[in-house]
């Protein structure tokens, strides 16, 4: 789609684009180029000069047990966050959709965790599950379960998944509810007259019509779990215990800033860029065909 009527100015459009292009060049393109450049070097132990290694950093990463472990941890974490937050949000949206008059009241009550920063969400859940003073940890102990995510990797993973999912429920709820409210009532009426029960109506009509929304949310949730959960990991577990919550985005930080291994950190950045690129392409190809409401 193009505008038929346009302005004829030679210099003005460049002037208008200048601020965004300058910032993009300085803070995006140059650092991204630097990442690619640095990923081809290994600094010597004294940090005085670097040695060119080509794709050596990548080769090392792909053979590195810890890196592959981090990949697996990220996959487990993202899929769990997507499943938990989307499952609960869909359940709540289906329920809210049944009480039309009050649906907006529930939307207001459920929408606000979106505004809570991931790091703050981490602090709240950390406080609830703190092994010695946390309220939930205390009641678990009363029931005979000794909760300690500081020592137990599976419990640490469960805690960061809960904190990350809690924050994301409101976003998913909003889109599921909008998707549900866009389904024509006459369709459901007709099915009801034909004698289809509520359960059957959901699986044969509602669920297929929601699939574009579901797929879109799946991509958004994976991107969120991959890149926006740094604050949760940093406040709750710092990647521990024993690297059990060391997701990729946290590893870039831990290796680059804490471990000062710039070559490896840069190579990890480049790999993550490829992952983001892939997800963006999937999302864009898909959004072209997305149902609008």
């Amino acid at each position: 789609m193009q505008k038929r009527v346009i302005f004829q100015n030679k210099g003005l459009p460049y002037l208008l684009l200048l601020p965004q292009l300058v910032i993009t060049a300085l803070f995006f393109l140059w650092p991204a180029g630097q990442a690619i450049y640095q990923s081809a070097f290994i600094p010597d132990p004294f940090g005085l000069k670097s040695q060119f290694v080509g794709l050596g950093n990548f080769e090392f990463l792909l053979g590195d047990r810890y890196y592959l472990e981090s990949f697996r941890t990220t996959a487990v974490f993202s899929l769990l966050v997507a499943a938990v937050s989307m499952g609960l949000a869909l359940l709540m949206a289906v329920l809210a959709d049944r009480v039309i008059k009050a649906a907006m009241v529930y939307r207001t009550l459920l929408i606000w965790p979106y505004a809570v920063a991931p790091a703050i969400a981490g602090v709240l859940w950390l406080f609830l599950f703190n092994p010695s003073i946390g309220l939930v940890a205390y009641y678990l102990k009363q029931m005979g379960y000794d909760w300690n995510h500081v020592l137990n990797g599976d419990e640490a993973m469960a805690l960061v998944v809960v904190a990350a999912s809690w924050k994301q429920i409101s976003y998913n709820f909003l889109f599921f509810l909008a998707g549900l409210q866009a389904i024509p009532r006459s369709l459901l009426e007709a099915a009801a007259i034909d004698g289809a029960g509520a359960w059957r109506r959901f699986w044969t009509i509602v669920f297929p019509l929601l699939s574009p929304t579901t797929f879109f949310l799946l991509v958004v949730n994976l991107v969120y779990a991959f890149f926006d959960t740094f604050g949760i990991i940093h406040t709750v577990t710092a990647g521990g215990p024993e690297r059990s919550t060391m997701i990729l985005v946290y590893k870039v930080f831990a290796d680059g800033f804490v471990g000062q291994d710039l070559g490896s950190s840069a190579a990890q950045s480049v790999i993550l860029l490829l992952v983001v690129g892939l997800l963006t392409v999937v999302q864009f190809r898909f959004i072209e065909r997305r149902v609008h409401y």
Binding site: N9, F27, F28, A119, L135, S170, L188, A192, H234, S269
Partner: protein, 283 residues
């Protein structure tokens, strides 16, 4: 399911739906309620579990301690830093995006599609992914511990540019024709016609971007080594030490509430704009 007549829920089915929904709401609100309670009791109440479930009487004491002295930095100072950062990111993004979208939609010039793709690339590079090189660039400019260093790297993003581009495409061409017949140039047209038309879009985007800016964590963590420049969302982490006895939980919890208040208030009070902004930016 929605609808009237046969699909409508009545009687105990409807009642059960409300009960389940309220249960869900209670579950979502539980962590916040516990935080609120913890910010009104004493340290003693917290380190001897279980925490009481009724708010205590020490709210004023805890909140004023957080605001005026804090742990490393008084919270009023961190709130101010967060406000400057959030507004800087929001206003910056909106201004540069309006200008570049205007150039791309209303002008034809050599290099137009190159510029468009360069901006598009930025969509694919979250700051979390390129922290080390970006940090080096900002350090090289001497922008560590400055508001410019906090905001500039987060200002460039293609999302807002795309949103305005989509919106400008839907503005009828007759308006430009009319403006040109009236002898208005591109600058006049932008200020007199396009900006007033974009008001709602700008407001919706403002809400979304303010939350995004306020909630930044990793970037301020790297750029502000001086406690006086800490933002509240990252500063709260420094208030929690590894030993529970050394952490002043009531003050930390009061700080958590203060850190949540501005973005949550924006979402609740501008819900319509917020939802519009969320749906628009995802298209």
């Amino acid at each position: 399911m929605n609808g009237a007549g046969m699909v409508e829920k009545r009687g105990w089915g409807l009642w059960l739906t409300h009960v389940l929904l309220l249960l869900g709401v209670a579950l979502v609100c539980f962590p916040i309620y516990v935080t609120l309670v913890a910010s009104t009791v004493t340290q003693q109440d917290i380190v001897q579990p279980p925490l009481p479930l009724i708010p205590g009487s020490h709210a004023i004491e805890n909140y004023s301690k957080a605001l005026w002295s804090g742990v490393n930095t008084p919270v009023w100072r961190m709130l101010m830093n967060s406000t400057v950062m959030a507004l800087g990111i929001t206003v910056g993004k909106i201004i540069i995006s309006l200008l570049s979208a205007y150039a791309i939609v209303y002008f034809r010039f050599p290099g137009r599609s190159f510029c468009f793709w360069t901006i598009f690339l930025t969509l694919m590079l979250p700051v979390e992914v390129r922290i080390v090189p970006t940090y080096e660039v900002v350090a090289g400019f001497g922008l560590l511990n400055s508001y410019a260093g906090l905001t500039l790297p987060l200002i460039a993003s293609a999302t807002a540019t795309f949103l305005f581009r989509q919106f400008f495409m839907t503005v009828p061409d007759e308006l430009v024709e009319a403006a040109r017949i009236d002898g208005a140039g591109p600058v006049r047209f932008f200020f007199d016609v396009l900006l007033p038309l974009s008001r709602t879009n700008i407001a919706a985007l403002f809400v979304i971007l303010f939350i995004y800016g306020w909630n930044q964590y990793l970037w301020p963590l790297l750029v502000t080594t001086d406690p006086a420049m800490n933002t509240i969302v990252m500063g709260i982490k420094q208030m929690i030490s590894s030993g529970d006895d050394w952490t002043e939980w009531p003050v930390v919890m009061a700080t958590a509430i203060l850190a949540m208040l501005p973005p949550v208030a924006v979402v609740v009070f501008m819900q319509r704009l917020f939802v519009k902004g969320l749906v628009e930016t995802e298209k």
